[in-house]
Amino acid sequence: MAIAKVCGIETEYGIQVRGAESNPVAASSALINAYVSGTLRNIDWDFGHERPGTDARGFSYPDSFAPEIEMQLVNAVLTNGARYYVDHAHPEVSTPECLTALEVVRFDRAAEEIVRASMTAAKRLLNDGSEIVTYKNNSDGKGNSYGCHENYLVDRATPFARIVSQITPHFVSRQVFCGAGKVGSELAGTSSSAVPYQISQRADFFEEEVGLETTLKRPIVNTRDEPHCDPQKYRRLHVIVGDANMSEVATYLKVGTTAIVLAMIEDDMIGSELTLANPVSAIRQISQDPSLTTTVALRDGTRMTAIELQWAVLERARKYERSHGLACVGDDVAVDLLARWETVLAGLESDRNSVAHWVDWVAKQRLVDGFADRHHLHPGDAKLKAIDLQYHDMRADRCLATRVGLETLISEHDALTAMTEPPETTRAYFRGKCLQRWPGEIVAANWDSMVFDVGREPLRRVPMLEPLRGTAKLVGALFDECTTAAELLARLDA
């Protein structure tokens, strides 16, 4: 049976300084420092086990390192178990490990609140009228893209080649409900009259079917093999093909449907009938056709629309639910996911306005088209591009996504609580609680270990190689019973 689909999401935000000169690396550092200095003692990230150059296909690139090692950029671990850091020239938040798609949405919402709080804190610190502004999108409209990556725990025993071939049809077609929408195209030689609007922010940037790269020649399936847990038992599938979503339901469907498809692949229940002839051109063709009528070729020669592909995946998921159950993605959440998956496909097919409160690209297109009609604007007008950008604006008084009536799944209270409280059902609970209780005794932390300094003894590393250990259920009592970090370590030894 498929293992629990522990999952998380990492989002790089676009960043801009208004009212002063600055470079994006300095601005990202200032933004994160403004938040971290006001909320907690800075705990360093521990790079000891990071191996971003290891390829899931079995080889490795010895010269690749996490870029932060060389640049000494800001890198903090938060009490909710998340990581908040500068990646290249962007502020990035990685949610803690979550057990369900709904938990991912809760911590992605918390990440948005953390970024908003950072903007407010930075403005106060700068105190010169200038302002650091962030955008939860994936492109600057000029050919530069930054990512929103998902991560899923997968059984190491599942052949990687099967994952690649069987997840690809889902990655190519799921954009119909989780695309964030984009005005124009960034492909060389594509005019704004040829592609005035497309479904995905990211489709323009994918050039390969499979590979290790994330910054150039981006692949639909990324092969980074860095499990951050027991490598004998698990893989972490690092997914780079998605858009950052403003819609909570879109994030929920993106993560939830992908977790279900991965469980089906582990149990070998999806088959290879949906294999595409040319995934790279298919992902672009689908993105560039908001009418949703474009068909793409399957390897067996038949042609299907993206919606038909999705109906076929959903049908297999229903069958899988009956034969295997959906405990590995959270039973109650899975039932709700399947129902919404069906609703969104039916809505897109019959009357897309009926799902404009769930689907970012539909909500954004209504604004862009409505505005163009009202003001008689042509495709390519800067005002339409400004609407696109401002849809993702993290300033409350400028953000358009918060004005279009998107359905919310997470209350404001729950999002705010998740800024500081970790999830209870993964090892992130242990990480977060230790940071809350004994920040002075923790010298470093990363996904799969924490390093304590409790005085007399040498530094103590506590390994956390099992993502489902360290939960509230398993260690909650320890935190009630121990008053010092030294006591905790002694209890863990016993």
Partner: protein, 64 residues
């Protein structure tokens, strides 16, 4: 907005069953259009005043 709703609501009671669906659909359409109009009014206020500069100055380094 209220006027639109009023007009549309009367329609089904005095029409044949076969076209009953149409006014309901149209009513929904009117409602959506009215909502969109309100939204577009708001965008006129919220949108950056110099859209061209705003869009041009938004330049990012690639990430990931």
């Amino acid at each position: 907005m209220a006027e639109h709703t009023q007009k549309q609501k009367q329609a089904p009671s005095r029409t044949e069953e076969t076209i009953e669906d149409l006014p309901v659909g149209a009513q929904q359409g009117e409602k959506l259009k009215a909502e969109l109009d309100d939204l577009l009014d708001e965008i006129d206020e919220v949108l950056e005043t110099n859209a061209e500069d705003f869009v041009k100055s938004y330049v990012q380094k690639g990430g990931e």
